[in-house]
């Protein structure tokens, strides 16, 4: 285990280094003088001079990268030009909201996706199987911002059951928090449920054709018990690992979902930053997201290693 972890951690270093170059390189895409672009519409000469000095824009690109990387390694992702706050502080403020949304979405996706996948595999080539496959196709093809608008139309405008937009902290009022989060979480979980359904179906079909399942059935165990205790338990290993890789989909989806439902989370932070030309925030958010994604991949690998004895031999 120790050697595996060291090897995986060592492989992270060049990836993270290249991610940092990629994200730093985004700044080079700005047309013209970055200081003028970052200074906004007013083009105040003092602001331009300040930005030029702050980002070392008169130095060569590799030197600027060095300064930027040194800051990043010290936990300094720069400051928001508009809000005048460190980017790390902004991320720390917004992240819990998105984590809550992502966790709820993942829970909804797991219940629907794994449930539909098990049903589809157990009742292969029946109308339930076709229905589950149709559901997966629906999930993969529906733009989540459209689904969000349709849900607002139905549950907020027509039925008046749920608030259309807004956010209430769970520490303030848990009930109101769930009322504001349930629609966005469903919208965000919808596409992931479809992916999980497909993974679960194929993993279950593979497991259901194995010898030990035949043995369990031959022993006379109830088919429900065989399905849930014997088959699903083993099929869950790759599903959980693949589920962890859906983190990227969750964050990408959160950008749009938070926009539709006006949730002040991580996604809204990046969109607002884009429109305010707050490039340090954009860079910081992308860097943070990529690092989280890489670390989650590592965790998924470690989890797979721990639960799969064959990898240890």
């Amino acid at each position: 285990m120790g050697r595996f972890l060291v090897r995986r951690l060592a492989a992270l270093v060049p990836t993270l280094f290249l991610v940092s170059i990629l994200i730093f390189g985004l700044q080079q895409l700005l047309p013209g003088d970055p200081a003028i672009a970052m200074a906004g519409e007013e083009r105040d000469p003092a602001a331009i001079a300040y930005l030029r000095a702050k980002f070392h824009l008169d130095d060569p690109v590799p030197v600027r990268y060095g300064y930027w990387l040194r800051g990043v390694l010290h936990g300094d992702l720069g400051d928001s030009v508009r809000i005048q706050k460190p980017v790390t502080e902004l991320i720390a403020e917004k992240l819990p909201v998105t984590i809550e949304l992502a966790a709820l979405a993942m829970a909804i996706a797991a219940v629907i996706g794994i449930g539909a996948g098990v049903l589809s595999a157990a009742l292969r080539d029946t109308k339930w199987d076709y229905a589950a496959n149709l559901f997966a196709l629906w999930g993969l093809s529906t733009p989540n911002f459209w689904l969000g608008i349709l849900m607002i139309l139905l549950f907020s405008v027509k039925l008046g059951w749920l608030p259309a937009t807004g956010y209430v902290s769970p520490w303030e009022d848990l009930r109101a928090n769930l009322a504001t989060m349930i629609m966005p979480a469903f919208v965000l979980g919808n596409a992931i449920a479809a992916v999980l359904m497909r993974h679960t179906r194929s993993a279950m079909l593979q497991v259901l054709s194995s010898d030990y399942i035949r043995t369990a059935r031959a022993k006379g165990l109830a088919s429900r018990r065989v399905l849930l205790r014997h088959a699903l338990r083993n099929a869950l290993i790759p599903i959980i690992t693949l589920g962890a890789l859906e983190f990227g989909t969750l964050l990408s989806g959160a950008v749009l979902t938070e926009q539709v439902f006006s949730i002040p989370g991580f996604g809204k932070l990046i969109v607002d930053a884009v429109f305010n030309r707050d490039y340090s925030v954009v860079q910081g958010v992308v860097l943070f997201t990529a690092t989280m994604y890489i670390l989650l991949n590592l965790l998924a690998d470690v989890a797979y290693f721990l639960v799969n004895p064959r990898m240890r031999t």
Binding site: L18, G248, S252, L256, I270, Y279, V282
Partner: protein
């Protein structure tokens, strides 16, 4: 000089395999449905100037947010523009974004993946690390960041989506090349003195086309959604030019009193993406050698 005999060049089996794959695809009703819907959207996009009932940019203050009627089948928007005409014209932006973005991904991804997989060694290592780094940034977030730095426009959105989707094609091509380059026919091609470039282009590339076609079809679906997402966020097609994503962006402010503004452009995105997914799934099954 007469052309040298090349035992690895026999077009007949390849053509037969193509015909078999087409027959298998045509036998799948879902894939045929998908193809038919895509064909309809392509026709609508091409014939937009002739078939759209009104000018998609023409505003009418006497017809603001009118519900669907005989005069406006899909209703009108917040400044009286005909929603049906805008949906028809919007097909252009979506299809263009899907095809151009994936072409960019293919144009960069296939040669780079081919070189990395075939040459191996340090080149493969470097390319793989860059691909890992790009894949670490979630697709849409990378596309948003690229579009933000490049500036909001449909062209930049297509470039951003194309670049963000490239690592998937590099990885797929590389993996396929590594599997194919150890096949006997590649060894035979090398033994008769073919150059590396010729082996890569004439012997390996044609044999990895099937998974690339499947991936490209599914990637068009993803690119259509990505373009709609960027336009929804204001980073794609700029108003007043019609695009399904930007139509939805405006429509979300009028859900209460003009829901038709949101229903039709969203339904168009859904139908087009669903069709590409159906064709992609059908192609995957039809081109899978295990089905022969």
């Amino acid at each position: 000089m007469a052309a040298a005999f090349d035992p690895t060049q026999d077009p007949a089996p390849a053509q037969r395999a193509d015909r078999r794959a087409w027959r298998r695809l045509a036998a799948r009703p879902r894939a045929v449905f998908g193809l038919a819907v895509i064909a309809l959207f392509v026709l609508a996009a091409l014939l937009a100037p002739w078939i759209s009932p009104q000018d998609p940019l023409a505003t009418s203050w006497s017809a603001v947010r009118k519900a669907p009627s005989l005069a406006h089948w899909f209703g009108t928007d917040e400044i009286g523009r005909d929603v049906l005409s805008r949906v028809i014209w919007g097909a252009r932006a979506s299809l263009l974004a899907g095809v151009v973005s994936v072409s960019i991904s293919l144009a960069i991804g296939v040669p780079v993946g081919l070189a990395a997989g075939y040459v191996g060694g340090w080149l493969d290592m470097l390319v793989s690390r860059i691909v890992d780094a790009m894949l670490a940034c979630p697709f849409l977030i990378l596309a948003i960041a690229l579009a933000a730095f490049l500036g909001p426009s449909l062209t930049n959105a297509m470039v951003a989506i194309g670049v963000a989707a490239t690592p998937v094609f590099i990885r797929l091509t590389r993996g396929q090349v590594m599997a194919v380059k150890v096949e006997d026919y590649v060894t035979a091609a090398r033994a008769i003195g073919n150059s590396n470039l010729r082996i890569a282009l004439a012997h390996i590339l044609p044999n990895i086309v099937a998974p690339l076609i499947v991936q490209a079809t599914l990637a068009i679906a993803a690119a259509v959604i990505a373009e709609a997402s960027l336009s929804f966020l204001g980073l794609g097609q700029q108003p007043p030019a019609p695009s399904w994503g930007s139509m939805l962006n405006t429509a979300k402010n009028y859900v209460e009193n003009a829901p038709w503004m949101a229903i039709w452009p969203g339904a168009a995105i859904f139908l087009l993406v669903l069709s590409f997914n159906l064709v992609g799934d059908g192609l995957r099954d039809a081109l899978d050698p295990r089905h022969t």
